[in-house]
Symmetry: C2
Subunit: 230 residues, 2 copies
DNA sequence: GTCTATACGGAGATAGAC
DNA sequence: GTCTATCTCCGTATAGAC
């Protein structure tokens, strides 16, 4: 029932012998994995510590030794996943350096961002966090901080630099980044927030994002016919 | 404790005698009110039917006679509130007729929309619905339908008309409406989704919305210097 | 239709042996 | 550190009297 408490074997049938000192750490990870699955599936309140206990293969007492309470377990699990969410994202400055022009860089970056944020597991996590914001305000703060560090902040810097170079005209970079994200990723994200079952249509996503970037550049881009500093 | 089961009096101390046939309807309403408060405060799973029972002043058996189950009660309560949310919204066509120009009309409309959607109770309801979407997919559909009927649909019509008249150039009105909403209301809405305690700053809201509408018009508006059909 | 009283299961958390 | 066994409370839902 529980899990591999002993006689665990790998894919070749060889017994897995955990390094002695890692036993506690491995159990801790097993708890986190089981808890994440249960919380994502049931939400915080409906999630059962009994289910997490059985799935993780450790005893309930061990879970409470490690995490103290259901609330603390929830916070530990969710806050661990959040930063990993954005780890795959290429820093905007690099995307800009690798692209032939600003529009291409913006399209590539927002597309990559959308691919990450629209992953079903991330959308699930996002809905979970939003639904529990009133119970766990720390999660809202964490979500904001991670988003800002990994995406908005770097984009603000990039827009500021491009404005200094004369390639864009962005008077309020912080607001502009919010607008850019809202007009591109924000649109499919909103749809999938309320209709999780909707599949992601690649060509539709590309055209939505392209249109959003064009909207952004119509306001903040250099005028047409402009080809560099005079 | 319970509520006004008998000897209930109005503000002048006069006894309130419910019309005989309305007794059931009045209890039904008391249940709905108590349930909404409890669901908004605790979320679906953590909400207690015992608490709803006590606050509504009727017995638990009566609640189950009326609604059958906790799930059905939840759906009845939430779906009843949703349409009322948008009832205060002026139809976009009227806002346009009453405004001196398109920009003013768009600013007024999105501002009014923001005022409604940013009300703390509505934000609370929205977080609740999002958090329970996987358990109650019907609510996502309902939310989408109400939003579309009361806001997006009429706006699409309006943009289509304005394009026909030559006052705007909107090739894809459905997408444009999503962009307009995302660039204006969507920005403070996102902030308040993750940071509910943040108060609404009127001047900041106005400047955000103004900037969003300008962004929209930079792409879809008539070119500057243009003063009516030739 | 409405009430009181209760059935029945599962929740989170812990005591104490090892 | 980890387990087994258990405590205590509260959950939804219903039976039966009025």
């Amino acid at each position: 029932m529980g899990a591999e408490r002993q006689d665990a074997t790998d894919e070749y049938g060889m017994p897995i012998i955990p390094a002695p000192g890692d036993a506690a750490a491995r159990k801790r990870q097993a708890i986190i994995d089981a808890a994440l699955a249960e919380f994502l599936a049931e939400g915080y309140s409906a999630a059962s510590m009994d289910v997490i206990t059985n799935r993780s293969g450790v005893s309930k007492a061990t879970i409470y030794k490690h995490f103290g309470s259901k609330e603390r377990l929830f916070l530990a699990v969710v806050s661990g996943v959040l930063p990993k969410t954005y780890a795959d994202l290429t820093p905007p400055a690099r995307a800009l350096a690798d692209a032939p022009d600003v529009r291409t860089a913006l399209v590539r970056h927002t597309t990559e961002l959308a691919r990450i944020l629209l992953r079903p597991e991330i959308m699930l996590l996002r809905r979970l966090v939003i639904g529990e914001i009133d119970r766990f305000p720390q999660l809202g703060q964490l979500w904001y901080l991670v988003t800002y560090d990994m995406n908005n902040g770097p984009l603000v810097e990039m827009l500021t630099d491009l404005t200094a170079k004369g390639e864009l005209h962005v008077p309020d970079p912080k607001l502009a980044v919010q607008q850019l994200v809202a007009c591109t990723v924000g649109i499919p994200q909103l749809v999938h927030t309320f209709a999780p079952a909707t599949p992601v249509d690649d060509s539709e996503l590309a055209s939505t994002i392209g249109s959003g970037v064009d909207l952004f550049l119509a306001r903040y881009g250099r005028p047409p016919g402009w080809h560099g500093p005079a």
